[in-house]
Symmetry: D2
């Protein structure tokens, strides 16, 4: 018999997290009269602590349209391999029992864990250790299996598309090529969908290795056909055939600027060097995570939050919520943690991009 539940958010922030929190709080309090406690800073809040904040209706007022998470998220993360300073060196210790004990101290009967595959893996192991857990899948770059899509992704694609719209006018005025590096270490969904929506000429994904020569040749052909500007969208995890040495910049020369756009900059350098076209690089980075969630993500986040409370009520622990077609359903956490949702190089979305005349990798 549930009286009180706890919720935490883990991993990178994502538009829609607050919609989930709000959905959980309102569904728990309004119809069921449960109490809700928020765990601060992801699992960190159950390692040192517990660090908690009571969540009532007032605490979730006005957060639906705010990005990020009011609970904060963890920066150190995994309780099973937790970095601890010991005589100068950093050891990775298993502090999971402390997490279980601290959860007990919160007095909550169940825990909602919102996070990506890493966070959900932890959630499932904690469930096996006796913490009644319900998962809510989160991934901004849509690389999670087990759900059609999750919140945050739609907002991110919208932000990148808006950026591509802006860059078109500049590229057109200056007859330039512009290379835009976007999120996507393993999965190229953001690059592919925003590339289609933003009318890119070339899209480079982790799933489809590309040859830099072909990219440069393609741009060259476009110019011969009188096209005066060129937009290339590159996922941060895109892999050139022959590895990352598409130009003579070694990793260490790269000043640890991966976050500032290794691969994007390298593709740009190659285009400028080989085609003599003035080329610029834009790295969207954290711009893609922030800001007001789209209506789609607010609705999906709210539905996930409400459904998570239902799962708790029904005692479906060790499981997670998911979107299937138009319905929000229960699903196995295993579905989300055992494999990645990658772009299918032969799939219809890649096919659509190519039918539109976009070069997709290769």
């Amino acid at each position: 018999m549930i009286k009180s539940i706890a919720i935490l958010t883990g991993g990178g922030d994502c538009p829609g997290l607050n919609a989930v929190i709000r959905g959980v709080v309102r569904a728990a309090i309004l119809k069921r009269g449960w109490q809700v406690v928020g765990i601060l800073n992801g699992f960190d809040g159950l390692i040192d602590g517990p660090q908690t904040v009571p969540l009532d209706l007032a605490s979730v007022r006005g957060i639906l349209q705010r990005g990020g998470t009011i609970l904060g998220t963890s920066n150190r993360g995994n309780p099973f391999r937790y970095p601890v300073q010991q005589k100068g060196t950093t050891e990775l210790l298993d502090v999971s029992q402390r997490v279980v004990d601290n959860f007990r101290k919160t007095g909550a009967d169940a825990l909602v864990v919102v996070g990506g595959d890493g966070t959900l893996k932890i959630a499932r192991r904690l469930n096996d250790m006796g913490v009644p857990v319900v998962g809510v899948p989160k991934t901004i770059d849509n690389d999670l299996c087990g759900t059609d899509v999750t919140f945050g992704y739609n907002t991110a694609v919208g932000i990148v598309t808006e950026a591509l719209d802006r860059l078109h006018t500049t590229a057109e005025s200056h007859h330039r090529a512009i290379v835009v590096e976007v999120m996507g270490r393993d999965a190229g969904w953001i690059a592919l969908e925003s590339g289609i929506a933003g009318s890119a000429d070339v899209i480079l994904l982790p799933e489809i290795p590309f040859h830099i020569d072909h990219v440069c040749d393609h741009i060259g052909k476009r110019r011969e056909n009188g096209r005066r500007f060129h937009i290339v969208v590159v996922a941060e995890g895109a892999v050139p055939i022959g590895g990352h040495k598409v130009v003579q910049i070694s990793a260490d020369q790269n000043c640890g600027m991966e976050r500032l756009g290794g691969i994007g900059q390298q593709v740009a350098n190659a285009i400028q060097a080989r085609q003599g076209i003035e080329t610029r690089t834009v790295v969207l980075g954290h711009l893609q995570r922030g800001g007001t969630p789209s209506s789609f993500d607010r609705i999906l986040g709210s539905r996930f939050g409400v459904k998570a409370v239902e799962l708790i009520e029904k005692g479906y622990f060790g499981m997670m919520v998911a979107l299937s077609g138009r319905e929000v359903v229960v699903a196995e956490i295993d579905m989300a943690v055992e494999s990645l949702n990658l772009v299918n190089p032969q799939g219809s979305l890649v096919h659509t991009a190519e039918a539109l005349g976009i070069m997709v990798g290769r």
Copy 2:
């Protein structure tokens, strides 16, 4: 053996129409070398005429991010019951054979018809009369069956949600109730989804008759609980129990302002009169149709356009494209024209809204 195809857009304009046109043109020309001709102003362009414009790659450049349709749409519409002036009176004549003849004059081997249920009904009958037709379903308020969703709807929900965000700050500052009337004559999807995303307090839909007393009581209770402002979202087709006479304004007194928000204004009048709360009405009207399509609608429109060309290539005439889960598939036009996609009053989306504390009709 296809050499040339034609395309027309019918019914109300909708963000994403240009993405469909562009997708058809590029998929037809780039890979297949077909020619494409655009029919102007919907079926009107096949009644007087044909009025056509050749569509090459240049003519669809830069239209992906533009709302509306570069081909224009019909204002008089149905060739089977076409209004014709005869000795002062207007007769409804069947001019469908003229449409067939004019289509032949275009020299096209197939016709892509983009439109809602009315337009698609016509398309199917023309197919039976020998015009090889492929349909692309269009509906801004999501009332079409046969496809999970179509382009335009996501943009409309986003526009309404943004409007609700804005109105919240005004309502909050003035301690007012604000009634927002949105699109949805038969189906309340826009009201329901934007109401959830925009944090509405009451949502009124065509599918769930409401009693004005209950609405006023609900607002009254909110005030007693210390809530200082109230947002009510009303679909234009929402039906009060006891018909449209929720306040003493007869239809004719209403100055033919239905389009300017009969039901919204009436609900507002009732709240102000019975609860003594200063209440304002906002009618979004055509604002919901216009402007830059969202990334979601640009992608879906592009996929529909590309798929329509495939259907022609495969000879699937008398059929239409549709979204099913994550895939764009072939579907029967009958699916779209024989019934409406209505909100299920017992469905999970209404349930979610109620779990969040929103009053949904009744």
Copy 3:
């Protein structure tokens, strides 16, 4: 020697009000160590009460980007003619002494009053009664003299312009005329500037009476010249020559829908009736007030707030802040309350609109 100050916001809400409040609070606390108390709901909070809330740094965190005012604004208003129920009837009484007494109770040494001409008039009279007042001018439709411009106006023009962008695509697709009614009872700045920025074809202002025949003729000529759509922007206070009877709708038949757009609807009816062009009306209403302030308004509001604190420090009571060129300066409240800032019919902005081919009234 100032130790504590109070602030209130009066009149209609306006994007940037929170920037002023935040500016006052931060400038007073950070450098000067003053205390700040917020008066709730404009002067109402000094009539019943005082109703106050302490304002520290935490209370103004995150409000810079929020529309409206966290202090609320008055709905009944003028303490010198305050509506009071007495034996069933409503009397207008002078309760200004109560305001002075309640201000004293707050313990504040000075009062910042943010509001339009009505609110500032009251502020000045209270100053004469011994309340040390500093004014911050506020007007969303830019009708205040004494300052080049105030916060809120830039945001409003931006919202209307965005709406006009959206409506263009609809009007173009359907070959319609669309009449957009915008704020501006006395001054037509919003209609004029958004009309120029949003590429309107006709702009109707309070300052330049228009003849409906000329408007209809102008639209007719445009159609003869092959223009397929027409956008008319009408300020709510625009006056047709011959008064409000441009069509046979009497004021009372109009269902008290002035707020829902009397004049806009009437102009639309006339165009449709006389030119046979399908015409739609959109009334933006409260959409123009709400939402995130533009960067311009956030900066101006912040500068006004900081400057208001300086005026208090220097003892410039009975005066207000103002924008002059690029500088924020001190100004007489009389400047703002004694006359309206109207569009000059012979001025360069009207001239610019006409040079661009826009019909401006007449």
Copy 4:
């Protein structure tokens, strides 16, 4: 007696350029019946060529809301020091006479030159060589004297402010510092105004040298005061005291990534290294130039275009248009080219930022 005029746009693209072009074309054709010819790609179009395009009303339809310039802009630039390949080496030659001759070939009686100080310098010299020139000042980072402000700047500040809004939610969720590098090689206006509007904690400008120790200490103090996140806005031209070696990264190690944010990255590295706060860098780069112009910039650009035509009519050659207070006036080109409009370190805008608690350089 003017019959025909030419127009070109030079230098970096800027939102509002198309508004100027449209204003010139409409003002010249509608009232005066002049012809207008567009010069392509800035002065390049008068060096090779002339490369021109006739501009009628149709050619400027729908461009008001589009960023960039439909005429393109020059990439090589200065006709007085023009890079020409000669036997393998690049020589800088004076080809200005070719420009004069090619202008004559266009048959135009006057030339409107839209550009920044470099472009306007050239314009004035060409005027001295007998080309009747009128200038329109353009600068996206507001570093031009002779006009209160020009088009493009308001849009750029808006884009940066929106980016800061987004980054706040991420920084808050992760308890991070985020360093945002923005445009401004010589003048810090964009950093200063967007920093105020976007609620930055530290703003670094070219005009006010900063000591990296003070920046790190300031962030450290904020953390001690319980502030969990920190936003630093850095103009690309900001200069640390002791030069660019704030961390051990030499210019050449920096992989020629200045454009990708040398100074921003260096400040971020220092904060992370010295305060142990996870810090991220975002370089907005070309995102700041592109996209739909704000209403302010559309209006100002339109006014400048209309005024430029008036100057030609009145024979005010060798001069330019400018904004002064609320009026668009004539001004000397010398005003714009002889000195830069820099932020005044003792000025009221810096003072406002500091009063709000923002650290501005030093």
